[in-house]
């Protein structure tokens, strides 16, 4: 009898759960994976981004880059875009919920995001299964596009950027022995570290010390004091700009003057802003170069500054380009609902010239683009020649 009542309670509780979800689902459109809703000529694009929480700085840049691009595309009038933003808080479960909502409730045509690689590894397989094109704008680690045919990225993978900067630095500064520092709780930094290590081995530079730190650390005195006693020719740092800036500051403070080669995380005006003079000598390879003598770049920077009253960073620039690329592909298909066609059109995007330079997808849906090795000089990113 009791067993029965328990059973009943179990069923009742399950029912309640379902009910709760039903209440939520009020007003949801017809479901289906048959394709996006065809409500006229506007292409709905879902954006999953890290909008609140510790990494909201990145999500904010991405959002602003995307909004700027949307406004420009809509002003041109060839295609109409609608962006639907969802916050992932940098958590994978939230990201999964967000893409599911965007695909199945908002019926978006395609997706942009998410911000972190870990999130993409979680949502990529789901989105790919649903046949929705998704483009990462900030993902640099290995293995992203291997998730599936619908997964794209326009951010340059570390494996393409880091070797260039390391090689250039070796050639320029005659590096023999270097120290590496990386954030060991950040996937991007760990991936960057591995590429640093591999590249250095390939070109015959000795690694005399490997030190780690963690995201949000503020004290790097121990690692740098240790490194200083070893007198390396350069320090390689894989991390995000916030920690990178503090490392540069501390390094210069305790008298380390050697060049510091960074991963993608270095590629931000915030690095210079926070580190000040200490940023001089920081080296990074990037397709995005704000000092580039290019009309597109200049007008992008001007428009961005006018709208948001700050300098754009690579996240904004890459997000901007991502939506432009998406718009081109949508225009090519002539449909705002056909995901399959959009995927195929995206895969064939070539010769797009954006603010991050000339752009095309390679056969693995990674970007094929030129890289400039930059060095900070007198508080400015300049080309390292």
């Amino acid at each position: 009898m009791v067993t029965k009542s328990i059973k009943k309670k179990g069923i009742v509780s399950l029912f309640l759960m379902v009910l709760a979800v039903m209440v939520l689902g009020c007003g949801s459109e017809k479901s289906g994976n048959k394709g996006a809703a065809s409500d006229g000529s506007t292409a709905k694009i879902g954006v999953v981004s890290y909008l609140t929480g510790a990494g909201a700085a990145y999500g904010e840049s991405i959002r602003q880059g995307l909004e700027l691009a949307r406004d420009e595309v809509n002003a041109q009038g060839k295609v109409k875009l609608e962006l639907i933003f969802e916050d992932s808080k940098g958590e994978k479960n939230e990201a999964i919920n967000a893409v599911n909502k965007l695909i199945h409730k908002d019926n978006v045509l395609s997706l942009i995001g998410p911000t972190l690689s870990g999130e993409m590894f979680a949502v990529g397989p789901i989105v790919n299964q649903e046949g929705v094109p998704i483009m990462g704008t900030s993902l640099t680690v290995e293995g992203i596009t291997e998730i599936g045919d619908y997964v794209f990225r326009n951010s340059l993978p570390d494996s393409a950027a880091i070797p260039q900067s390391v090689k250039k630095a070796k050639e320029k500064f005659n590096l023999k022995k270097v120290a590496i520092m990386y954030s060991d709780n950040n996937d991007l930094a760990v991936s960057g570290f591995k590429i640093f290590e591999k590249t250095l081995k390939e070109i015959g530079v000795e690694v005399i010390a490997v030190e780690t730190f963690a995201d949000k650390n503020t004290d790097f005195s121990a690692q740098l004091t240790k490194i200083a006693t070893l007198n390396p020719d350069a320090i390689m740092v894989a991390g995000l700009y916030q920690e990178a800036a503090l490392i540069l500051k501390k390094a210069r403070e305790i008298g380390i003057t050697v060049p510091v080669v960074g991963n993608n995380g270095f590629n931000s005006p915030q690095l210079i802003k926070s580190a000040g003079n200490a940023a001089d000598g920081a080296i990074v390879a990037s397709p995005w170069f704000p000092g580039k003598d290019d009309a597109k770049v200049k007008s992008f920077i001007a428009a961005y500054k006018a709208k948001y009253n700050k300098e754009p960073d690579q996240f904004a620039a890459q997000a901007y380009d991502a939506l432009q690329i998406m718009a081109i592909a949508i225009e090519k298909t002539g449909s705002v609902t056909d995901r399959q066609k959009l995927r195929d059109a995206l895969a064939t995007v070539k010769d797009y010239s954006g603010v991050t330079g000339k752009f095309a997808f390679d056969e693995k849906r990674n970007p094929a683009m030129d890289v400039t090795v930059l060095v900070v000089k007198d508080g400015q990113f300049t080309e390292l020649k």
Partner: protein
């Protein structure tokens, strides 16, 4: 290198101690671990930053401003999140949860107000470097060390000698008895929380100066360390907070200098787990606190 690393350790440790002081003061009187202390610390840092940059105040006025802001936040927290709980008999869990709520609230409020970007004090305040025999010590390091030790001594003196200090100690001993002895415990509690929060706000400015990064999530990172120190030094023990803080700072630095840096963040809690097995009352805790109640 050893001496330089020792200095690094002491600098780091004194910031931990500074944060732990606030935790321990509140715990001593209220038996509450204030999970929002880190966020009050973070708010203090931002307020100090704004006063110093936007309003061009001197760093000392900014410090004072941050402490006042901390005290105000402390008052609000006590009024809204702690007092309603004290009126009824609740489990010791409740204030913990309530302050976690406050911490989440303050962190997201800070994200809205100040933005997610890390900011830093203008470089005029930044480290002026002293070199003694190859060892480098920055002015900020010395200031932090001096202030945290000064605060510790002042606090101890104040608690021991002044009327209010004595009431705080009486309340910490036993709220009911203190009440019977005519101590206005309500007032004492409010003052303690405000004092601890003012200390937290001030610590925010100092740590912001020392490490150059002020951002909304700094509270949780530093708060964790403060929490570790709280346990390490013995709950509610001021000397314990100081020594525990220094010990943790030095241990962390040395784990990097002579060990594996990637295990640095495990040091604090590894230490604690070990300590709890050997001496559950903390290094300086009294026997009665053993294992909790």
């Amino acid at each position: 290198m050893f001496l330089q690393q020792m200095i690094n350790g002491i600098t780091l440790g004194s910031t931990y101690a500074l944060i732990a002081l606030g935790y321990t003061l509140i715990f001593g009187v209220l038996n509450i671990v204030n999970m929002a202390h880190g966020e009050i610390f973070m708010f203090g840092a931002f307020i100090g930053l704004i006063l110093a940059t936007t309003f061009n105040m001197s760093i000392f006025s900014a410090l004072l401003g941050a402490m006042i802001a901390g005290a105000v936040l402390g008052y609000l927290m006590e009024r809204l999140a702690l007092r309603p709980l004290r009126r009824r008999k609740v489990s010791e869990l409740a204030p913990l949860i309530s302050t976690i709520g406050v911490s989440i609230f303050l962190e997201s409020l800070a994200l809205r107000l100040f933005g997610p970007q890390a900011q830093s004090f203008p470089s005029i305040y930044a480290a002026q470097l002293f070199e003694v025999g190859g060892l480098k010590i920055s002015a900020v390091q010395i200031i932090i060390l001096a202030i945290s030790f000064g605060l510790m001594v002042a606090l101890r003196f104040w608690l021991a000698k002044t009327r209010l200090g004595k009431s705080i100690r009486a309340t910490a001993e036993n709220i009911e008895t203190a009440n019977l002895l005519g101590v206005d415990t309500q007032k004492v509690i409010v003052l303690t929380v405000m004092l601890a929060s003012a200390l937290g706000g001030g610590a925010g400015v100092l740590v912001g100066l020392a490490f150059n990064a002020i951002e909304p999530t700094m509270g949780i990172t530093m708060g964790f360390k403060g929490l570790a120190v709280l346990i390490l030094g013995g709950l509610g023990n001021i000397t314990g907070a100081m020594v525990g803080g220094l010990l943790l700072g030095i241990a962390e630095i040395f784990s990097v200098a002579y060990g594996v840096s990637s295990y640095r963040d495990a040091v604090a809690f590894g230490f604690i787990i070990l300590l709890l097995f050997l001496r559950p009352q903390g290094i300086f805790g009294s026997k009665e606190q053993q294992g909790g109640r």
